[in-house]
Amino acid sequence: MKRYLDVYKQGMYSALQSAAAYRMNFIVSSLITLAGNILFPLVTLLIYRAGTSFPGWSLYEVLLIQSVFTMSNGLSSLIFGGVLWTTMSHVREGSFEVILLKPLNPLFFIVATTFSIDSAGLFLGGVSLFIFSAMHVGAIPVLYWLQFAGMFIAGTAVLAGLTLMMAAISFKWVGNSRISELADSVLHIGKYPLPIFPKAVQAAATMIIPVGMVGFLPASALLGRMHASDYAAILPCFLFLAAGIWIYRHMIRLYEGVGG
């Protein structure tokens, strides 16, 4: 275990060193990501400014959903963000053997060596928006914070599972840089209050591909809008992550290299 921690620590350190070497690129990327975060809830702001709303949801409640989504996305990108592109690149170039030869679990090695410090801007942007919107939704009891923490971790697990599944697809759909768009399109559902969607979409977004857990359900927990049945959505999140790991490892076994 200690060995794994040491490798991960070294991976983080290398990522920081690399960002320091190209610091201008890092600063510009982070600033653009931060600006993107500020502009992301613009659609919501404009909708409310036009005098209308998502039925039953105030502006700050919707912003809370979107900030939780951004934070979860930022955290997941920090840890798993590089897995898809690194896997895709190795498979395309036929150099995945180089990773298979390392005396470590290949999936862990890729995760540890692709710590995406660039995503710090995304996470921090989400945190800023979260603080801003949480300050406008009234007092939040400690119990709700605890529920939120559990849901937030489950949501991040969904994102990690989704990333691993997309990376697994890249073993067969070689070199398709648009694979990530598949995940992004589905995740779009998680940025808005789930009740605006039909029951079938709500069920799919909580039980099958639980993207509702990425933004909507953790924010609902903070707002005290959880129903007892919503807790049932936690288990599918971790099953989804487990499925992502299983599929990724299965695809490694199917990998056919050309000598690296």
Binding site: G36, L39, V43
Partner: protein, 272 residues
């Protein structure tokens, strides 16, 4: 006449080769068949919920709004462009020299490539998504005026190309124009009207869009498709709107030419 014929032949050949080259990766384009309808579905439910009992928002009724989002998605498939990325890569790697030595202007070459690439997009992105919007979502995707819509989409095609090519030209100074590209994509995503119609923006922001390139990429052609154009309190006929778009394309082309001439003075190569 001979010169025109020769240019047409080059255009057809470059477009044809690009089409064949990208045909090998046609399944990449087909990602849009899943992604496009999913985004559209989300927009459909967002706006259905938001409209609620409101008959109209920002002067737009719900069916028009749904048609608008269908149109922006489809127009995006026809006008999509990455000339900036391509040019930036050629400058960074020094391969631009090989184009500089050819008896064809690189900008023309890149435009012909785009025609070939988007012909593929027409077959594998536009048509399948159009059929999905019509037969699965039941959206009326008949343009208010087919000739004006085609003309407006063609102008949006050129506008997108010239704007992106200008961004690519900045690589002659910056070498790596990725940051500028990301920043433009970010701003363009919002102010082109692809996320929300510009009618929802504050009045001063709507007015400023007449002098910026963004609305000519998606909002204006989509509104031409729906048959009703208004922005910043100005109601224009479809012909007037397309006329303004044509002027904007000409101005952008002029600006692009100016930047290109400056960039060529900047260019140095060492035999790629």
């Amino acid at each position: 006449m001979n010169s025109f014929k020769q240019k047409w032949l080059i255009c057809r050949t470059v477009a044809d080769v690009t089409y064949k080259e990208w045909s090998a990766y046609r399944t990449h384009s087909m990602v849009s068949i899943i992604v496009g309808p999913v985004y559209f579905m989300v927009q459909y439910f967002i706006w259905t919920a938001v409209y609620g009992d409101h008959p109209s928002l920002g002067g737009i009724e719900l069916p028009q709004m749904i048609r608008y989002f269908g149109a922006t998605a489809l127009i995006g498939y026809l006008t999509m462009d990455f000339a900036d990325w391509n040019l930036s890569m050629l400058v960074r790697t020094g391969k631009f020299l090989t184009f500089h030595l050819r008896p064809i202007h690189h900008r023309s070459f890149a435009l012909f490539q785009k025609i070939g690439h988007r012909s593929l997009g027409f077959l594998f992105e536009f048509l399948p998504c159009l059929l999905i919007f019509i037969f699965i979502f039941g959206v009326d995707m008949r343009p208010a005026s087919l000739p004006w819509t085609i003309l407006s989409v063609l102008l949006a095609f050129l506008m997108n190309f010239y704007v992106n090519y200008t961004i690519g030209l900045t690589s002659f100074w910056l070498v790596q124009s990725g940051g500028l590209r990301s920043a433009f994509m970010l701003v363009s995503g919002i102010f082109s009207g692809a996320l929300i119609p510009l009618d929802f923006f504050p009045h001063w922001l709507q007015m400023s869009q007449f002098f910026l390139p963004f609305q000519y990429l998606a909002y204006l052609p989509a509104m031409v498709f729906t048959g009703h154009y208004s922005l910043g309190g100005f109601e224009l006929s479809i012909g007037q709107a397309v006329g303004i778009q044509a002027i904007a394309v000409l101005v952008t082309f002029g600006f692009n030419e100016l930047v290109r001439r400056l960039a060529m003075k900047q260019f140095t190569a060492v035999g790629a």
